[in-house]
């Protein structure tokens, strides 16, 4: 396992693999049917949110169990602007980012100023998400608990300006988000911020003794993570066209977000992507299998999630990627 200091793309094989993967992903919509495309979109969505969460937890060691908050608020912000005032999501997204970043910073400020860390911090993030969920349950302007809906256009529409279009459009959008997040996080990890965050994660007291204003850098991690996650909310709103507080803010959504990076490898760049792919494909496979057996049992997928999570935390505490990277002989590791 090498460290982030080793130049990320120095390894020829890694760069080759990455390019091949990118080419395959670009060609994918032409190669597969709509079902597989929908699974691919889901994978990209979770890879993206996982990457965003990873900035806070994986890089900086601050455990958030309330990331559904930023997805939800981001989604509702753009959706409300679009439905009520016909404001394009490309404009609304800025407001979503601003609001979510501010919320993240407020939570971070309160927690870090008052010296709340670890489990207590995680509980604080849950509390804020739950608080907001119940608030939206009674927020009539966006449909309260009855849900908030975007008009679904006829098939074949392609209106990039208003993000109305086919799954293929959403696929490329998700892919672009994922790729951008990957490059951004890779850059972060190699920069001073990445080093400072990891130092804070490993030992906050020692980090402080090296002149790092830990409060400021933790705030930066929370701000970036919440801003990135709000974009996932924008995607969610326009892809699914319906929003229910009970679903979008639910704590199990937050857990879904964090499963990918945990299974793939916390603090690594490929972990969130790998974890999202493994988890989504396996979970979908299970659902299909159960359906094929003619059974209709709710909860099967989640039990499966639980078992996978249990096995990974027990036997692969660093996730799949670090082990896999070593096996592949890739001189690439990030953070772990």
């Amino acid at each position: 396992m090498s460290a982030p200091a080793s130049p990320l793309f120095a390894d020829r094989r890694a760069i080759g693999l990455l390019l091949a993967l990118l080419a395959l992903l670009l060609a994918l919509p032409a190669l597969v049917n709509s079902y597989i495309l929908s699974v691919a979109i889901l994978i990209l969505y979770f890879a993206y949110t996982g990457q965003a969460w990873n900035v806070m937890m994986g890089f900086c060691g601050q455990l958030s169990l309330g990331h559904s908050l930023y997805v939800g608020v981001g989604a509702y912000t753009v959706a409300a602007l679009f439905v009520h005032y016909q404001i394009s999501p490309w404009v609304g997204v800025w407001l979503a980012v601003v609001i979510c970043t501010l919320m993240g910073l407020v939570i971070g400020f309160l927690a870090f100023r008052f010296g709340i860390g670890g489990t207590y911090f995680a509980l604080l993030t849950i509390a804020f998400a739950e608080f907001t969920r119940i608030g939206f349950d009674h927020f009539d302007w966006v449909g309260s608990s009855g849900g908030f809906f975007l008009k679904v256009e006829s098939h074949g529409t392609l209106d990039l300006l208003n993000l109305r279009g086919s799954p293929t459009m959403f696929y490329y959008l998700a892919l672009a988000m994922c790729a951008a997040a990957f490059v951004f996080c890779a850059w972060l990890l190699k920069s001073r911020a990445g080093y400072y965050w990891q130092a804070i994660r490993e030992n906050e007291e020692a980090a402080q003794a090296l002149g790092i204003n830990t409060f400021r850098w933790k705030m930066l991690a929370v701000g970036i993570s919440s801003a990135m996650t709000s974009l996932a909310g924008v995607f969610f709103a326009f892809y699914y066209n319906n929003l229910f507080p009970e679903q979008i803010f639910n704590i199990s959504r937050s857990i879904e977000i964090i499963l990918g990076p945990i299974i793939g490898g916390i603090g690594t760049l490929f972990g969130p992507i790998l974890g999202a792919a493994v988890l989504t494909i396996l979970a979908d496979g299970i659902t299909e299998l159960v359906a094929a057996m003619g059974l209709e049992i709710p909860g099967v997928k989640q039990v499966f999630y639980g078992v996978v999570l249990l096995l990974v935390v027990m036997f692969l505490p660093h996730g799949i990627w670090p082990t896999l990277a070593r096996k592949l002989g890739l001189g690439q590791g990030s953070g772990k």
Partner: protein
């Protein structure tokens, strides 16, 4: 708003709060000793509630009698959960332990969903509909019995930790686990014992709670959060704090349900949690670390 309505609601809140308190007591005891946050606490509570429903449906076993087999079964379950699954995680980082219990919680809540489906279940005993009247104030019999049982269980627990040998050993272990090891106490066994006791508390609380609410699988995460709110408000690791927190949350939920809307009642608890975390993170009765 008529004053006796408010009185009735507050009293119901206090009584329910004592059952909440017992549930949270389990969480607090486990945290105080093992230093692991049981993220599956509410899910265990829900399992106990379903167990009570099943025992009642099969043999008409009164929930108050179901307490005994449920507590015993949960004690054994908790003991083994700690000794097989959690003990190896004691030295792991906090987030790792958290994830382990999140996994356990996910399996539990969805396991219940697979077995029982999403529809609500309940038990129906005749004293659920009866009440005592004191002037204009009503005391639901089931709620009073449940609160008394919760208090008796808590008292037994206090006595256990105060006077019994294993109770004292567990407290020594909580104070200084290295010291406990040095004087020859089997720390892992004591941890498992503690988790078993905490689980038994939850089982009793679950048996009682069935009399007050209908049970669905999704109650699990909600109760986990509720238990967290209670112990943090009361003071994590403080036994008296858990009971006080339970009553406080019980009352505030009941009153919020009356004045705002029942579906928004837990908003008050979360607001309380946020305030306590910020201004008195050690909780109302907790000691400053």
């Amino acid at each position: 708003m008529p004053i006796d309505l408010i009185f009735n609601v507050v009293i119901a809140g206090v009584l329910t709060g004592l059952v909440y308190g017992l549930m949270a007591l389990g969480l607090s005891v486990i945290f105080g000793v093992v230093r692991v946050v049981n993220f599956a606490h509410g899910e265990m509570m829900t399992i106990a509630m379903y167990a009570t429903v099943v025992l009642f449906a099969a043999w008409k076993l009164d929930p108050f009698l179901a307490i005994f087999p449920a507590a015993l079964a949960f004690f054994v379950f908790g003991y083994f959960l700690q000794s097989t699954l959690i003990n190896p995680f004691i030295t792991r980082p906090e987030h790792s332990q958290f994830m382990l219990l999140v996994a356990v919680a996910i399996i539990m809540v969805n396991g219940l969903l697979m077995i029982f489906g999403p529809t609500a279940r309940n038990v129906q005993v005749d004293y659920q509909l009866e009440s005592w009247e004191l002037g204009k104030i009503l005391f639901d019999k089931a709620r009073v019995y449940a609160a008394l049982t919760a208090m008796a269980t808590s008292a037994a627990l206090f006595a256990f930790f105060k006077f019994s040998r294993p109770g004292k050993a567990i407290r020594a272990c909580a104070d200084n686990h290295l010291g406990a090891k040095v004087v020859g106490l089997n720390v892992k066994h004591l941890y498992a014992l503690t988790f078993g006791i905490g689980s038994a508390c939850v089982a009793v609380a679950g048996c009682l709670m069935v009399l007050l609410v209908d049970v669905t699988p999704v109650l699990g995460p909600a109760y986990t959060l509720l238990a967290f709110v209670i112990v943090i408000v009361g003071g994590l690791g403080s036994m008296g704090g858990a009971l006080l927190g339970g009553v406080l949350i019980g009352v505030s939920e009941a009153v919020a349900g009356l004045f705002i809307t029942p579906s928004a009642k837990s908003m008050v608890s979360f607001a309380l949690l946020i305030l306590v975390l910020l201004f008195r993170p050690q909780g109302l009765l907790g000691r400053k670390s």
